[in-house]
């Protein structure tokens, strides 16, 4: 969909990004930084912190903190632990811990947070869900996201792909996250229904079987 513009982009992010100096070790939480001239269109999942100074469109999820700088322009749903917004954000925000909208920040979108700080001067429009009502929904996503942890290699691949080969980013970034995210979640969900679903099909099958077997039984009786 929106992968082409990203693919067209030259490779400045790879050249600019110093974070890869030390090869990212899977156990250490990494921090990803997109500068003011960087741009991401698609889905991003990161184990660690994310700092955005440029343009993002799509979907962003970080296990750590998300920071949107003054100059950033984000049209994406954001999810993170602590989320702080100082630039423009248009999209839903989920903060497992706290959302801060700074005085230079503007946010349009629905918000689900545990704690919320809006500084004077900030601009915000949307629905807010927090407190007792939001606690359960907020914690609920954490459970599914915990199993997300295992596929670290995939995640690392995504992050590296973003910096190493932005030209290829379009495909890898778009493809892996759906695989990584739903994979841990869906199996547990689908398995439950699967066992239940398996029963109903069995019944119609047996009905069909009876339906076919009944006539022969009936016919002899009639005749």
């Amino acid at each position: 969909m929106s992968s082409r513009p990203a693919a067209r982009r030259p490779t400045p992010p790879a050249a600019d990004e110093p974070p890869r100096e030390s090869s990212p070790t899977p156990n250490q939480p990494n921090s990803v930084q997109l500068g003011p001239r960087d741009r991401l269109i698609g889905q991003l999942y990161i184990e660690g912190d994310l700092r955005v100074g440029g343009v993002i469109e799509g979907e962003v999820e970080a296990t750590g903190d998300v920071e949107i700088d003054d100059m950033a322009n984000v049209k994406a749903s954001l999810a993170g632990r602590d989320v702080s917004i100082h630039g423009h954000v248009n999209g839903a925000v989920v903060a497992r811990k706290r959302l801060i909208v700074g005085r230079s920040g503007s946010l349009i979108g629905d918000v689900r947070v545990a704690r919320l700080v809006i500084q004077d001067g900030a601009s915000f429009s949307g629905k807010v869900s927090m407190g007792a009502g939001a606690d359960k929904p907020v914690k609920a996503p954490e459970a599914p996201s915990a199993p997300v942890a295992p596929p670290k290699p995939e995640v690392q691949a995504v992050v590296e792909a973003v910096f190493e080969a932005p030209a290829r980013v379009a495909e890898p970034t778009v493809v892996p996250p759906p695989v990584a995210k739903p994979a841990p979640g869906k199996p547990s969900i689908t398995r439950l229904p699967a066992t239940r679903v398996a029963v109903p099909p069995a019944r119609p099958a047996s009905k069909d079987g009876k339906g076919k077997t009944v006539p022969p039984k009936g016919k002899p009786k009639r005749r």
Partner: protein, 130 residues
């Protein structure tokens, strides 16, 4: 601390800006519709209904208010349930709990405050259009 802090009590405070002030204390209660040109303070009292205030509204710590509120500046430190319109600014203090949709020009929420509802922000002329 600037001039003479000792003399500025609650009483002189009301006179200072020349506006009327409506205060509900811990033993006071109000149920119904109120349209009032001055400012309103609910501090520990019970208030329920519809309050359209020309000045500011302040809901003190530990106060529970169930009402439709409309005022220039609204400061909440207690609990409020109902639709709220702040022609200028809404401030939610650390201990504030607000349940209801909000229309404001400016918004400040301190850490610790709880808010559940839709927030609309912007000029009120545009509000009719959108």
């Amino acid at each position: 601390m600037e001039s003479a802090p000792v003399e500025t009590d609650g009483q002189t405070d009301a006179k200072r800006d020349g506006t009327k002030k409506f205060t509900l204390g811990p033993n006071d209660s109000l149920e119904g519709k109120l349209t009032y040109g001055g400012s309103m303070t609910v501090d520990g009292g019970h208030a329920e209904g519809e309050f359209r205030i020309g000045g500011n509204i302040e809901i003190g710590n530990g106060t529970v208010v169930k009402a439709l509120l409309e005022a220039s500046n609204v400061t909440i430190k207690g609990e409020v349930e109902g639709k709220l319109t702040a022609r200028d600014k809404l401030t939610l203090g650390k201990s504030a709990k607000l349940n209801g949709d909000v229309q404001v020009k400016r918004l400040q929420i301190e850490d610790g405050a709880t808010l559940n509802g839709y927030v609309r922000m912007g000029d009120f002329e545009q509000q009719a259009g959108s």
